[in-house]
Subunit: 68 residues, 2 copies
């Protein structure tokens, strides 16, 4: 389904972090981290990259996944 939100949540948990901790380290608001993990589609690119950067990742074009 939504690989991005799942990716963030899995990475965060595998590092033993809470949402507030992730938001603090990424320099974003807590609300944003929650929207991200909830699969909100209208997020801003730079904010998402702030979070992914903590994991050594960033947003880039990938082949479309099958929709659900």
């Amino acid at each position: 389904m939504n690989t991005l939100s799942e990716f963030v949540r899995n990475r965060r948990k595998s590092l033993g972090m809470t949402q507030p901790e992730l938001a603090e380290k990424a320099g974003t608001g807590l609300r944003f981290v929650r929207d991200l993990e909830q699969g909100k589609k209208t997020l801003r690119l730079d904010k998402v990259n702030q979070v992914l950067g903590l994991f050594g990742y960033e947003l880039g074009p990938v082949r479309q996944e099958r929709e659900e």
Copy 2:
């Protein structure tokens, strides 16, 4: 450098489309397509995906490129 903007521009040109044509097919504004190809960092995720979808792509987490 900015793989996303380069990706869009290359795909668009390889399909022989102009920016207005791409915007029209993607259902976004022309200004957005221009911002995208210019490497604007604060774009909205869903809008970028509207464009990438035309090429069978979408945004997803990828390993970070060297910033240089």
